[in-house]
Symmetry: C2
Subunit: 278 residues, 2 copies
């Protein structure tokens, strides 16, 4: 039976009695099959599974983007129940950020390029809320999707640097049958945009194919991705990156393990995806 | 018997078996009677007492200041032994900040004036190292001297905001017989400077007396402090503040509880002190 708690005090009380280890899945709600895969792993690997549902205002630069972020807590709690999650933490903004809150956790170089450059302040908001949630839940393990690959690296760095004893685990991106990475934001796509959106994954796959056939020039791989995206009129690429998979520095030559990644706009909706070359 | 550990792993192992609650005194070493008072309280209130000795490079803006900060670990460990401290954590810089370390914990408004203005980056360094040490030690309580009053407020804000379950406790400033606040930096004073240094406390006492006699103008209280300091040729005031004791905003009128504080240079040595009006 899934229990829902809303305050730090209720959470602490619920966790005091919880069998160890604890597996934690932090989410912004609007749960989908990607989240389900994280919950399943949290449940399989731990004695207690905890999901947080919190649309974190500090990681949205654009108030309109925050406003339109989809929400349906009743359905989210139902999904957590279906997945056998033990505890759902669904706090208010004031419960996470009490009045007078004034602290920022900032990760350096790894948070600067790509999503960090496109969304100033975004990763400060992510690192700060995850530091708070990690303190509150005190889990042995926390699970994140690799779709948000840079976010995973930022959180891993933050947790390691601040000596937070929660292990940060990244799980594979879950995709629709046509390859589109599952994301809460997909709900905003019009039917035509939804039909066009698989081009994002296809563009990365094309570059990954070129790499497998021996292409090692990062510029050539970026061009392959951009060419596939350019063939779809509804797709407006924001960036196409071939970067070192650990540092996210852009590469000239792909000799070690690399990350292909892209952010593409479809109307007002911004989708991201990535593919590791290893 | 005081045990000394140097690595995160040794610390975790030593603390796993430690009776609760744990009382923690973070220090930069060169321990003095001020630290002893913190240790005594940590020991009295907790089943296990832990002292860290770590000169934190991130809180020094000036490399020369870091270089000349006094150190004597053997004597520090002896003092911890005399005070019955259970565990001393004396890590290397790499143990606190592993290679690739790249995270900053920054506190906002409370860290901006006074010491924050005089020493850019200082409180980021303090908040970051204390967040790490709090994670590592996971104490129920941590003890700090009120001599570093703004530091106490910064750490309290950081711990509250990041939901760190360590209670932050401030203890009264310990003074020499002539009123000089005990500080590791006092060792740098020449005999003439040492003879002059009690003027810092005297200047604050003069303003506190004026306040007790009914003076409520913050400017008048600042002037009383400055006049006393001006009478001592070796004292070079850096700032004289009459601020709200919770926000550290400078006051015009002292109607609620206020903090008198000052930073004064004696040659190359910078001393700070404060007095609460309540």
């Amino acid at each position: 039976m899934t229990r829902v708690v809303r305050t730090r005090a209720e959470l602490r009380e619920a966790l005091a009695a919880a069998p160890r280890p604890i597996g934690f899945v932090p989410t912004m709600g609007w749960l989908h099959v990607g989240h389900r895969s994280l919950m399943q792993r949290a449940r399989a690997d731990n004695a207690t599974s905890v999901v947080s549902i919190f649309v974190n205002p500090r990681q949205f630069g654009d108030p309109a983007d925050l406003e339109r972020y989809p929400r349906n807590e009743a359905r989210d709690v139902e999904i957590c129940g279906e997945e056998g999650v033990d505890l759902v933490f669904a706090p208010t903004v004031d419960e996470v950020y009490p009045p007078g809150f004034d602290t920022t956790v900032a990760v350096g170089a790894i948070a600067k390029p790509l999503e960090g450059a496109a969304r100033p302040g975004h990763f400060d908001g992510v690192a700060t809320v995850v530091a708070i949630l990690f303190s509150l839940v005190d889990a042995e393990r926390a699970y994140f999707g690799r779709k948000d690959y840079q976010q995973l690296l930022v959180i891993r760095q933050m947790a390691r640097d601040l000596a937070i004893p929660t292990e940060v685990i990244g799980l594979p991106t879950v995709r629709e049958a046509d390859g589109l990475a599952v994301s809460s934001r997909n709900v905003h796509l019009s039917p035509a945009e939804r039909a066009a959106a698989p081009v994002v994954h296809r563009s990365l796959m094309a570059a990954a194919d070129a790499w497998r056939r021996g292409e090692r020039s990062a510029d050539a791989l970026r061009r392959v991705t951009r060419d596939v995206l350019a063939a779809e009129p509804l797709a407006v690429p924001e960036y196409v990156s071939v970067a070192d998979a650990r540092t996210l520095h852009e590469l000239e030559t792909v000799d070690a393990s690399a990350l292909l990644s892209t952010a593409v706009r479809f109307g007002p909706t911004r989708l991201i995806d990535n593919e590791a070359l290893e």
